[in-house]
Point group: C2
Chain length 358, copies 2
């Protein structure tokens, strides 16, 4: 498959982002929702920040807490030597070494959402300060991986809302990317990678979602319906993993990817999958226009996989991960997170995607 990575890649890197506080550093700008608004292309970016820490024996954790009725930032300091029960080896989280409770004790970074704007779709300016900050009640551990679905003049933003109680999905709406209305947690944890279709189908809204069951089952795609975008039901399993024993690119986890778009042949859904070594690639489904739970065709091989240096190396390497794309004439413009710390763009002709499907 012919894919045209943007020559300016990566389009956005941590150095392009002003930290939200003087004691923070930006670890990543990645996994962005995509929208067109008043002649501009808007990326609503996940910005991950951590606390600047000079002392190697310490780990400082940023969380949002409620204090005197207000949401404030709290910093938890671990002195590694004094915490033999904890495992600090993963750059992304602090883990419990044993016990029946949740393994993850804290995330090392806190993510918020921030708007970047462009007129040409290549050169983006990141706003000086966060556009949407996490609140303690819904996402004390951060807001991750937003998707934007435009319905009429309203932009619906769903994102992973993380607390110590799990990673669920919340919904926010905006008409102007200035003021935002919250609609609460729409999917209980663990459920990420939600993508909402941009129109009602057979009288109802439809969304992919990716529960991760604690017991039976795997991280796979489900499809749900809603009368109002806020309350969801009629869940159906949509697509599973390939066989674990095979060296497939999608035998570890599979999830939502970009918001689906409509073509003459049906809905096109760019999704992501990871193998058992957590190498993330992108693929595509063609879905029935009237019943998107029906798969008409699917790409057998990834349409994008980590190949360049900026995709292979970063905060968490070997990752290409999309939350949104735009269709421009016969070309799909995919914005994607590379190695969990940068934003990149790749253009693929729609016809090439169709030709790669079986």
């Amino acid at each position: 498959m012919k894919v045209e990575r943007c020559l300016e890649n990566p389009l956005l890197v941590p150095a392009d982002v002003k930290p939200s506080r003087p004691d923070f550093k930006v670890d990543g700008i990645f996994n962005c929702g995509v929208a067109k608004y008043k002649g501009e292309i808007i990326l609503l970016c996940r910005v991950a920040e951590s606390v600047i820490c000079e002392n190697e024996d310490e780990v400082k954790i940023p969380v949002v807490i409620k204090k005197d009725g207000k949401d404030v930032l709290d910093i938890i300091t671990y002195h590694k030597k004094e915490c033999p029960e904890l495992d600090f080896s993963d750059s992304r989280h602090v883990d419990r070494k044993s016990g029946k409770k949740s393994k993850v004790v804290n995330l090392t970074s806190l993510s918020h959402l921030r708007v970047a704007r462009s007129t040409d779709g290549v050169h983006f300016t990141v706003e000086e300060s966060p556009s949407i900050l996490p609140i303690s009640e819904e996402e004390s551990w951060g807001m991750e991986d937003p998707r934007i679905t435009q319905i009429g003049d309203v932009y619906y933003i769903n994102y992973t809302s993380v607390t110590e109680n799990g990673a669920g999905t919340s919904l926010i709406s905006t008409k102007d990317f200035q003021t935002y209305e919250r609609h609460g947690i729409i999917f209980a944890p663990e459920n990420k990678d939600v993508t909402i279709f941009p129109e009602k189908i057979d009288g109802q809204y439809v969304a992919f979602n990716r529960p991760v069951p604690g017991g039976i089952g795997n991280p796979e795609m489900w499809i749900a319906k809603s009368p109002d975008l806020i309350h969801w039901g009629e869940q159906k399993h949509f697509c599973g993993l390939s066989n674990e024993d095979e060296n497939g690119w999608d035998n570890g986890r599979i999830g939502g990817g970009a918001v689906p778009f409509k073509t003459e042949k049906g809905w096109v859904k760019i999704y992501h999958a990871a193998d058992k070594n957590d190498r993330y690639c992108l693929g595509a489904f063609l879905l029935d226009a009237d019943d998107p739970s029906k798969v008409l065709a699917k790409t057998a091989e990834p349409i994008l996989q980590p190949e360049t240096d900026y995709e292979k190396k970063g905060f968490f390497g070997n990752v290409v991960f999309t939350c949104g794309c735009l269709l421009k004439e016969d070309t799909v413009i995919i914005y994607y997170g590379a190695a969990d710390d940068k934003i990149c763009r790749v253009d693929i002709r729609l016809e090439d995607i169709f030709n790669a499907m079986k």
Copy 2:
């Protein structure tokens, strides 16, 4: 606390149930939803059955599959010696010994729902055949732990719907316990122990649910809202576990229990919790009448715990687990599953429950 276990306990045992097929045996009748209908007390029981297997080297697994467009029973036979990659040591399921995919490969039994009727609330007659059979699409691995919420003249039955893709919660309604209407999966896996309040509160239906997140988080109670009982959102974390290091009775998992009922003081919610050794007990919350996410009081100690022989020993011992209760004057009549294979009854005075709350 003074609890009056019914002298006739256990009220129902596997021998009271006619298997649904000649090649099946009944492993348990337990965890029943409770309703009043036309002067009778109805228990909608979980009946777990397995395949009669004379050969100790074999394990036979019953599942529902789609064949030629129809749901039929399929029996998978494992020859233990030929499956070194599998673990058959747990009586409840067959497990994978290693690998990244879901550990559970199959359940050893298949559960359906069956009505039992009584005029005195003590002596029950179990119907000769299943009342609701699992269908392949929603619960190829069985239907478990039903709760019944009566709203007007409609009885809403939610239950755990299990497939190889996980244990979610589905909804069925009936007006007569003869014909049943399906409303699909209302909570994606893993989410069990759902209990729906019997009236709208502040304009919306409300339900407890108990997601089990695969990553961050623990098996704890959440509370959600719905306009129509079929689509749910506005999820909030409701109650967590006690500290793992303490010898608490609720430091392993906590879940829905019985459908809440209204009193002059507020909603009373009998719930269950297990410690880290999977010993299941019952407790009670008192919740604000207008906002049941607010806990007014809670029992510090269990109101019922496994003490008798029939609670300590069975298919899975040391379990008391309720899906429904009835309020009769000043007494709460709790029907509960004992040791995952029998149905029992205990009566507790409401005032005693209130007095045990802090």
